[in-house]
Amino acid sequence: MSVNRWLATGNFFTAYQEEQRTFLTNLDRLIFSIFLLILFTWPIFFPLNRTYMLVVDNILVAVIAVLGLNLVTGFAGLISIGHAAFVGVGAYTIASFSRVLGDSHILLTHFWLILILIGGLFGAIMGAIVGLPSLRLKHLYLAIATLSFQMIFEWAIKFLTFFNQGQTISVGRVMWFTGEIGRENHYLFWYYVTLTLIILLGFGIRNLFKTRYGRALVAVRDNDRAADAMGMHPGLTKVYAFALSGFLAGVAGAVHAFLYKGAGIESFTLHHSITYLAMAIVGGLGTLNGSFWGPTAIQILNLQVEKFSEYASNYLPSAMNLATALRPLTFGLVIVLFLMFEPRGIANWWRIAKSYTKTWPFRY
């Protein structure tokens, strides 16, 4: 039977493998390729100034971090309130190398890609250590364990002299085949690096969920006793979920350190952990494309809030800092409203839009 590989009007699966395909039709694949092409080429046609390029870079770094958070909170069902600390572990791995070796050591300038992986590795190790209580415990206790890791991390950075007591530790510029990445190309360069990392990691995670290790996460989330009966080890699966999320967070942190040419405590506080949670919730927990919607939506919202408070502060007494007030207010509102009215997040809107266009123009 010949199957229309371009326009499928329904699901006609004859094997479980078909259901697991990343792209169900060739049209999906084509659209995705065009989308990637646009992502890679738009900075050439519409060069942004440095301020906005940094915002775009921030979104992409947050996407990597939220991918990690989504793994542990969305797919494995464990709340992590310390995700910014894991990101910080990655960033401070780079910063420590820079502090010990000097900020333009050859390791930092030429082998930064390896350092990013090492940052991820340290994040994974910390994640596994923090996840250890999950060998015995569930939901709430784990949330509190990650919270305490966040507090311990903040203390360690703030009070240990090795970490410069929370002051920024600088990291040098990196080299590419064309020479040192200068000031004007810095953000553009990291845009491409981060985008490539996201594509690799995104496909990695997508494929992970085709294997038993990925499905084990979802199984433990849905019913840990049933998973236990099926021969999985729920505790170890959770520890491994934390390690995996720590790895992604570490990679995000390492990129963050290179992007900002340094690491300071102000980017890895409890507030940032909550922001990552907000991103994951708004995007849609337990969905892969939600990890892309969430950071984009929240960062754009953040930008608008800052613009609005800048505009409004002209009409208000100068002593009041409206942005500090409005940022937590909008984040909190967004978290609460999404949880109350759209718990499946923006990814659900995407799903609805997709199923609507699937049969277009013939509706049923």
Partner: protein
Amino acid sequence: MSYFFQIVVSGIVVGSIYALAALGLVLIYKSSRVANFAHGQIIASGAFITYALTVWAAIPIYISFFISLIITFFLAWSVERIFLRRLIGEPIISVIMVTIGLASIIDGLIYLTPFGTKNFSFPQFLPSEPIAIAGVSISWTQLAGVIITTILIASFSWFFKKSTIGISMRAVSDDQFASMSVGISVPSVFGLAWATAGLSAAAAGGIIGNITGLNFDTLHAFGIVVFPVVILGGLDSILGAVVAGIIMGLIQQFAGGYLDGNWGLNGTGEVLPYIILLIILLIKPHGLFGIHEIERV
């Protein structure tokens, strides 16, 4: 030696405040199995309401303290009614995250007021001369704080043990379906648990505000530091909250008094509770007095 006893005294003062702050968390957890991450913000708002009534509305502090308790009682009740009542039956993960979102909202609202950025301190209403016995001194404010805390905790325990509402709250925490079948309205018990938690939080806020002055960062940090306390004491035990609060206060003060400045350590009082928390989670997750009903996975 008097240095040692001075630390013991200040540890007990700090610890009794921790106990009062932890009480609210225990109340909510006991009845509805929700950990309230917005507790520190409720403590802070209680303290700020007390200050606003005392200084701006010029009401004597003895009365304004009680008015603020009542206001926060209804505030916490309405928070439950508006945000959390809809989420009954939802997975626990979304309820916890709603409280995190609530914490963020209240943060934002407080930053809109002058309290978010400026420091205030209560007017002195007790003698400022500290009481000194054999070189160990305690200020009148601290003494009053400890006494009020003791009275409040005693009355809360009585309320839970003897009164009809308290018994129905315990029944709900034990088994929701069984308590529904004997005619207890479970949602209203949840509301009441939040309201009483708000009341105890406001009391804690008022006392902290009087002892240390009003600073938003310090006040809402209490909402985080009560987690080590309740985990040490057992999440659903009032007695545990009291004992663990005092233990935690002593540990913090001793760490501050003996560890800081030696071996290049600093601010150990801030971090030790969390290290203890992680260790307890690994070896004795139900805490000192909690019920052993942790589900093993």
